[in-house]
Symmetry: D2
């Protein structure tokens, strides 16, 4: 099932040649980085609201929206989900509180 990210990446790439009037993603590309970032911020707000409501169906839907718009951002920047998954994999070996101590205070560079 997780191949869905790769399939989405292929589709998002293909939308680069499409007229903005004919595709939601193409219209985001046309409006530029800031428009995409506003959507990412909006979906984060909706994720927070869904979690505060404790509505699990909504949480899944909003996180899907959030991931989707980060995929659009990646595509717009010439990046791919594999870059992000690779970064998560790279961190996988490093974990625990010792790792946490080695990184900047608020960031989860070394996770878990």
């Amino acid at each position: 099932m997780s191949d869905i990210l790769d399939r989405l990446a292929v589709t998002l790439e293909a939308r680069k040649g499409v007229d903005a009037d004919r595709s939601y993603v193409a219209s985001l590309y046309a409006r530029g980085t800031e428009a995409i970032l506003k959507k990412v911020a909006e979906e984060t707000a909706e994720t927070i609201m869904a979690a505060m409501e404790g509505d699990r169906t909504k949480i899944v839907r909003e996180i899907a929206d959030l991931w989707f718009h980060t995929l659009v951002l990646l595509a717009h920047c010439g990046l791919r989900p594999a870059d992000v998954l690779g970064e998560l994999e790279r961190r996988e070996g490093r974990s625990g509180i010792a790792e946490k101590a080695s990184r900047k205070q608020t960031g989860p560079q070394g996770v878990i």
Copy 2:
């Protein structure tokens, strides 16, 4: 490579039984939903900043941080990455501007 999300989910689940002093994730669970949501908001801000700088390495790292903290949120709510990937897959069939017309103005329920 995309199995990393499933492996992370297993690890995040295992952190539920761990003392908060010994694991970053366990400490987030202990501090509760709002602490996790604050981290999601913070990583979104960092993603926006990285994209504004146009720093592709940073963009990948910040989106990894953002996805990671949404995985923590999912685990905290008894959900799994497969739920989100399934939602994205469900939408995969539906695409185009016609789909967009059928949904609420600002949400990407039906994507692409």
Copy 3:
């Protein structure tokens, strides 16, 4: 000049009786708390982007947008700018790093 906040509060209150089709604020009220919160999140994202660009004119404009939508939120909740200004005034006496030590780690309850 700072009376502008009070004047805005009066205007925002008056918009409560107006048809949603005839006023931007009335349309926000009609769409509810979540719609207002999405706007607050969006204006925060735009503030971040303006600051990253270092565009001072844009920074002023986006913070004005952000404050404005928090005023709408206050009005929608039966609150007023005076409540927020009073809270800031209350904190004014308390300052310095000693104060910081007395509050929760990440919040600026006692400021400056």
Copy 4:
């Protein structure tokens, strides 16, 4: 009461010469624009959470936190609350749905 914003601006300005170890605001200045922006994002998240809880005391406190950190951002950029209040005043004349029609779709440049 609304003079509090001007008084805070004076205090924030004075913190520019203070050692980062001795003042919360001085420590934010020292950490730079991105650290301030992360706080703005965090306070927005807390405002959203407070509003979702419907906790009016918390809403006031979190909006105070949010305004405070935007004041820090303004000071850090050589700007003042009067710039933002002036912008809000400038818009005051223009209102109504006609105004809304004249501006970009999602921004509240001309408000009310």
